[in-house]
């Protein structure tokens, strides 16, 4: 028996099969969780839940002309922006809002990956998101556009800008030598390889 597609599961759910939505949730949980984990570690759990609840509510209106993943990321994106608006700027006060962090040095062993993550996390949010969805979630630029409410050409422009900025940060963060050469030479491939590494981010978050 072949594995049902997202759309088939969605149809099964509409036909009254409650377990079909559970399967959809299981299937995409790690991606959605990581989407939040890397940015709002302390609230990732709640936001992930809210995203799936939101998807459940909106699923009956989902027309199926985009992929279900794109639809999920669109909801997650709105949740993320709302959460970031509610949180005060990047100032963390002692004894007030000491948030846990998610991905740690322990989880990421390869030096190239460590430096790339250091650089990636310094990008402006809108560039981080397109990079993540493109290289880690394998969404096409048109799909990213739908998820983030952007023109596909804007997505392509942001991807180019992200690669450029990544190169600049990596040049700042490394000395001339083999490590820098590898990073700048294989930037796209190393970025892609980071996907599976960061997918474990949520497993490190305290309950």
């Amino acid at each position: 028996m072949s594995v049902p597609s997202d759309n088939e599961l969605l149809q099964a759910w509409r036909g009254g099969d409650g377990s079909a939505f559970e399967e959809l949730t299981r299937r995409h949980y790690v991606s959605i969780r990581r989407f939040f984990d890397l940015r709002v570690a302390g609230a990732a759990d709640d936001l992930t839940q809210q995203t799936f609840l939101g998807a459940l509510e909106a699923a009956s209106r989902f027309r199926g002309d985009a992929s279900f993943r794109t639809f999920l990321f669109a909801i997650a994106h709105k949740q993320l922006l709302r959460s970031l608006r509610e949180r005060p700027a990047a100032i963390e006060r002692f004894g007030v809002d000491e948030a846990p962090t998610s991905l740690s040095m322990i989880a990421v062993r390869q030096q190239e990956h460590q430096f790339l993550l250091m650089a990636l996390t310094q990008l402006p949010l809108e560039l981080q998101l397109v990079t993540e969805l493109y290289y880690w979630e394998n969404l096409r630029t048109a799909e990213i556009g739908e998820a983030l409410s952007l023109n596909p050409s804007t997505v392509a422009g942001r991807l180019a800008r992200a690669r450029e900025l990544l190169g600049e940060h990596l040049t700042q963060m490394t000395r001339p030598g083999p490590l820098r050469d590898r990073l700048l030479g294989d930037l796209e491939q190393i970025t892609r390889a980071l996907g599976p590494v960061t997918a474990g981010a949520n497993t490190r978050t305290p309950p």
Binding site: A41, I91, E92, G95, M105, L117
Partner: protein
């Protein structure tokens, strides 16, 4: 985890003998070692309280940990400075290594900062603390080998949880577990980043060689955080933090506090320069800059203000030992505790203290405690001059580090120590919540010392010198220059 490990997770029972030391209670517990309050007993009722640091059993057999532990002991034994916790002894008992250090009766700077709930410390208190740490650090940086050649040591883990503040106002840098000579240091060897990411220097984050100026960056972070009440470098994950540090990308002080003095902001900016060559060259120069600033404000950087801050946030100084602890310490613990194997095991309930015991306890407790208070800190002196008097009697400092960054993400090999609740061997459990109870902190993160023991312990007998030492809350006017009100 076998039964022995479970037993050890609870800590060794009070009364356990380790060589010449008798454990009183565990005061801190970390990823790699645990720290106990212990009593050293000598001839003729000689008794002295110390901090005893023991490698956790699961690491005891690991040569790498044993080597780091020994390195720490060797290195720290050379340090002799009022702003550095003194190492007293290094020993081995039943195959486990331990270090004893002066016991610092007080709190971590991190606790004091958390108790401020996002507000900055009073600026003169902050400056007193940072310049004290700078003095201790400078001593370490300047350390020379027996042949006079510079050792080039770098602490690498200067952070609020490694700064101890005694209730007497002394400021002490502690935990030399990962301090190293310059040439061996490489920060980002795969998976082996040492130190806490939020207190690393840009060159540490980039995995480049470091020297003392790396610690100077960390001092800059301490200055920033104590004077602003906010983290200098934070983020949703370690890489975001490391990346910000690598670029020295911090929120300018004036954006957090519009009234932040530009002169102080300049000192912060210089300490937090990305290029080490742009920073203060030595910790002493940073201390001088702080001193100059304080002088211009007509402040005197004095332990009295630290005492005042401690009292305000943590209440009156609690006794070191509870009444029950003092009581059984007064007896010969060896008659009381049956099994004292380090491997863990049996906890023997203390016998109830009878009237005779109580009397003995009062005497012994007084003896033990007079030590601490006899050491009245000279209030007008700078901390670096003031604390020497503290050194002889009270000892030292648990290398306890509450986790600064989220507990679960402490990098490997870094001793993250959580202060354990006081385990009084008595039946009555202290229940008072710590005044600074912090919902985000681990439930047992508040040291027990905070809690008034259920039975009043032996009254601390103040030496007659007590008159010299004002109650912490009421600092005499003459400590400050005319016109200055803290």
């Amino acid at each position: 985890m076998d039964a022995t490990h479970v037993a050890r997770a609870l800590g060794l029972p009070p009364g356990t003998r380790i060589g010449r030391y008798t454990l009183v209670r565990r005061v801190a517990m970390g990823g790699m070692a645990e720290v106990y309050l212990a009593q050293l007993r000598g001839a003729e009722r000689f008794a002295k309280l110390v901090a005893l640091k023991l490698i956790l059993p699961q690491f005891a057999g690991d040569p790498e940990f044993a080597r780091m532990f020994l390195d720490e002991a060797r290195l720290a034994s050379r340090l002799q400075h009022p702003n550095v916790t003194a190492v007293l002894d290094f020993g081995e008992y039943q195959g486990e290594h331990f270090i004893t250090m002066e016991f610092v009766h007080g709190r971590h700077l991190l606790e004091l900062m958390r108790a401020h709930r996002g507000r900055p410390l009073a600026r003169d208190v902050a400056l007193t603390i940072v310049s004290g740490v700078a003095a201790g650090l400078h001593h370490m940086h300047e350390l020379r080998d027996h042949d006079g050649s510079p050792l080039g040591l770098v602490h690498r883990d200067v952070s609020p949880s490694n700064v101890l503040l005694s209730y007497e106002g002394a400021v002490k840098l502690t935990d030399f577990g990962i301090a190293k000579a310059v040439e061996h240091t490489s920060a980002t060897r795969t998976g082996a980043f040492k130190g806490k990411v939020g207190y690393a220097s840009p060159e540490q984050c980039r995995g480049e060689p470091i020297d003392r100026r790396s610690d100077l960056f960390a001092l800059g972070i301490l200055l920033y955080e104590t004077t602003l009440g906010a983290r200098a470098f934070s983020g949703p994950n370690e890489f975001a933090v490391l990346g910000r540090v690598a670029r020295a990308d911090y929120v300018p002080p004036s954006q957090i506090d519009p009234d932040y003095p530009p002169a102080l902001a300049e000192i912060v900016a210089k300490a937090l320069a990305v290029d080490p060559a742009d920073r203060f060259a030595t910790a002493a120069l940073l201390a001088d800059a702080l001193d100059g600033y304080a002088h211009a404000q007509h402040w005197r950087l004095a332990p009295a203000r630290v005492v005042e801050a401690m009292t305000t946030h943590f209440g009156e100084t609690p006794p070191i030992t509870s009444a029950d602890e003092a009581s059984w310490l007064a007896t010969d613990p060896s008659t009381r505790v049956a099994a004292t194997s380090l491997a863990g095991a049996s906890i023997v309930a203390p016998t109830p203290a009878g009237p005779r015991r109580r009397l003995a306890a009062t005497i012994a407790g007084t003896l033990a405690l007079v030590g601490t208070t006899a050491v009245a800190v000279t209030l007008v002196a700078r901390p670096s001059e003031a604390t020497p008097s503290a050194a002889p009697v009270v000892d030292t400092a648990p290398a306890a580090a509450t986790d600064e960054a989220p507990p679960s993400v402490a990098p490997v090999l870094v001793p993250t120590v959580v202060i354990a609740a006081p385990a009084a061997p008595s039946t009555a459990a202290p229940s008072t919540a710590a005044p600074s109870a912090d919902p985000t902190a681990a439930p047992n993160a508040e040291p027990a010392v905070d809690v008034e023991p259920p039975n009043k312990g032996p009254k601390r007998r103040r030496p007659t010198k007590r008159a010299d030492k004002p109650a912490a809350a009421a600092v005499p006017d003459n400590l400050y220059p005319p016109g200055y009100r803290p």
